[in-house]
């Protein structure tokens, strides 16, 4: 993965312009964040406050419905909070107008169901994340190949998702999430649907990522204690709030 860092893509201008990049600024800062649904009947997040430092790997755990995924969606600006503020690398998301640029320039997203596009090959799935970053198609293609090789999928670049195992699909999704050299990697149950062997490989990949990209912040929503154990810190949510912090 260090090779990839030296061949880092050109981050999109608008994305790069976001954030001040100063070391003292936390990677993610959530303050009194509430997210209500159905007119307040469902309180997915209810006054959540959380600070994640740069380069930190935080596992978010908690029972189903405690707001883990909602928290991730808000940080990814896929949804907006009912109240409270969210800052990512110093950017107040409520004031950010170019949210697509923010996601493209700062975030890597790994979904539980990988969300690969079925009509595209593994390589093309990685490439689509690089549209709008200023890279030409040759650069995108070369980078996608490198990323796939780095997640041990060399030789499978032209396979569509339907011809990949669950673990392989998740690794394609990780390669895609890394394509734009994100500051922040958000993973929602990345091992949720995987068999034991695939879980081991994904965990190994996260360990490698942490050692090779120490500046990259990772927030991993998980139910899996092994994933949680691999993080610097575990945050347990309950009823839409932080219930417990525990350093590993």
């Amino acid at each position: 993965m260090s090779d990839l860092r030296t061949q880092a893509s050109q981050r999109s201008a608008e994305g790069a312009a976001l954030g001040d990049g100063s070391l003292g600024t936390p990677a993610v800062e959530m303050s009194q964040v509430c997210k209500y649904f159905d007119g307040g009947l469902v309180k997915a997040l209810d006054g959540l406050t959380l600070r994640v430092e740069r380069g930190e790997c935080v596992a978010v755990t908690g029972p189903s419905g405690c707001g883990k995924s909602t928290m991730l969606h808000l940080i990814a600006a896929l949804d907006s909070p009912t109240s409270g503020t969210i800052r990512v690398s110093g950017i107040d998301l409520s004031e950010e107008r170019d949210l697509a640029g923010y996601r493209r320039g700062h975030l890597g997203l790994v979904f539980q169901l990988h969300n690969l596009l079925p009509q595209l090959s593994a390589r093309q799935n990685v490439e689509v994340a690089m549209f709008g970053t200023g890279m030409n198609r040759h650069q995108r293609s070369a980078r996608a190949r490198l990323l796939l090789a780095d997640v041990d999928l060399e030789g499978m670049e032209s396979r569509p998702p339907t011809r990949l195992s669950g673990g392989e699909r998740q690794r394609v999704a990780i390669a895609r999430a890394l394509s734009n050299e994100p500051d922040l990697l958000l993973a929602d149950e990345p091992t949720g649907n995987l068999d034991e062997r695939s879980v081991d490989r994904v965990l190994d990949m996260f360990r490698r990522l942490r050692s090779e990209r120490p500046a990259m912040t990772m927030i991993i929503v998980t139910h899996d204690p092994r994933v949680a154990a691999s993080a610097d810190r575990t945050v347990r949510l309950r009823d839409g709030r932080v219930d417990q912090h525990s350093a590993i």
Partner: protein
């Protein structure tokens, strides 16, 4: 993979959607182009007929079903000649005869030989027929060429045998593919004594064509003067109806095509809602998502145009060989016809693709990601 490559990939991977949508566009283009070519060819034929006389304007009977049904009596011809500003009037009787299966409607023009020059006719071989001759005619040079006939040969029209005494040229394609016969004999043969189909009017130098035309229209309410193709409909209701049908069919083709395109695309894009959510989550702007959808729609439209044009050419070929139209319809594939095909397809695709494109571009990423 380039953006264009992604678009191409997206449409080719969904072959059924591509086929159905392109077929809808193709049917629209087929309708518009084939009707357009046929009507334009008919318009051109009619215009060519008018231009054959090399007149300043033409006079026909008002409100006839088609121009060749026009009938003007000799007394009217004499009165038109007296209208101030009129320098000369050439009256002709026009008919058609079945020559053979390739020429089911061979053009026959009855004309007085003394008016050939005024009518813009040049005798290029042989000599003009005699005014009272019963078995003489002149062939247009194109007709002579296609039939392989020369001066001195004979030709049978409607069981009458004629001697070809001359070959003429009018400078107009339609006129040169027919024959000219003595007016007196032709009027008798057609049982239309002292009747004319069209009058070709020449204006005196210094006179205003428009003013003379207005005067004729005013003084002869049963007649109508024609100078331009736009005025043609005043005399020929059939052509007006065909043109109206052509325009109506174009509008219908666009509406029906747009509905089919919209339906096919909406269904396809609803299926792809999650895909658009993923792209948004990956940092694609709404504009890029919308551009991708519209580009896919336009590319499908282009494929439909190509297919529709090919089908239209085949359809026109088929129409051209219908027994009733053989030798009459000369397809004219103008830039305008192809332009109509393009804007018809563009209208269908834009109308059909815009709503799904907006829907996809404006959908919230999270809702799209949750779409089943």
């Amino acid at each position: 993979m380039s953006f264009a490559g992604l678009i191409l990939h997206n449409i080719t991977v969904r072959k059924l959607r591509l086929a159905l949508t392109a077929l809808a566009v193709a049917i629209g283009v087929l309708t518009v182009v084939s009707l357009g070519v046929v009507t334009h060819s008919l318009e051109s034929s009619d215009l060519a007929l008018l231009k054959t006389g090399q007149a300043d304007f033409t006079i026909a009977q008002k409100g006839v079903a088609d121009l060749l049904s026009s009938s003007i009596d000799g007394a009217s011809v004499a009165r038109v000649k007296l209208v101030p500003g009129v320098a000369g009037v050439t009256g002709v009787l026009i008919g058609t005869a079945k020559l053979n299966s390739d020429n089911p409607q061979f053009l026959e023009i009855g004309i007085n030989p003394s008016q050939l020059s005024a009518f813009g006719v040049t005798v290029v071989a042989g000599s003009p027929f005699q005014a009272q001759a019963a078995n003489q005619l002149m062939l247009g040079w194109k007709a002579a060429q296609s039939l392989g006939l020369h001066v001195g040969d004979t030709i049978t029209l409607d069981k009458n045998v004629f001697k070809v005494v001359g070959i003429y040229s009018t400078g107009q394609s339609l006129g040169d593919t027919g024959a000219m016969l003595p007016l007196a004999w032709f009027q008798t043969y057609q049982r239309q004594p002292d009747q004319y189909t069209l009058l070709f009017v020449q204006i005196a130098p210094g006179s205003s064509v428009t003013a003379v035309q207005s005067r004729v229209d005013r003084e002869f309410p049963q007649l109508v003067s024609i100078r331009t193709l736009q005025q043609f409909g005043r005399a020929d209701r059939s052509l007006s109806l065909i043109l109206a049908a052509d325009r109506g069919a174009t509008v219908l083709a666009v509406i029906i095509g747009a509905i089919v395109v919209m339906s096919a695309m909406t269904m396809s894009f609803i299926e792809r809602t999650r895909e658009f959510g993923v792209l948004s989550a990956l940092g694609w702007t709404r504009r890029r998502v919308g551009s991708m959808i519209m580009s896919e729609a336009l590319l499908i439209g282009l494929i439909g145009v190509a297919g529709g044009l090919a089908l239209a050419v085949l359809a026109v070929l088929g129409i051209q060989h219908l027994p009733s139209l053989r030798g009459v319809l000369h397809p004219d594939y103008t830039v305008g016809v192809f332009g109509r095909a393009l804007y018809t397809a563009a209208a269908m695709v834009v109308l059909g693709g815009l709503a799904p494109a907006f829907r996809a571009a404006l959908s919230r990423p999270l809702e799209a990601l949750r779409h089943e």
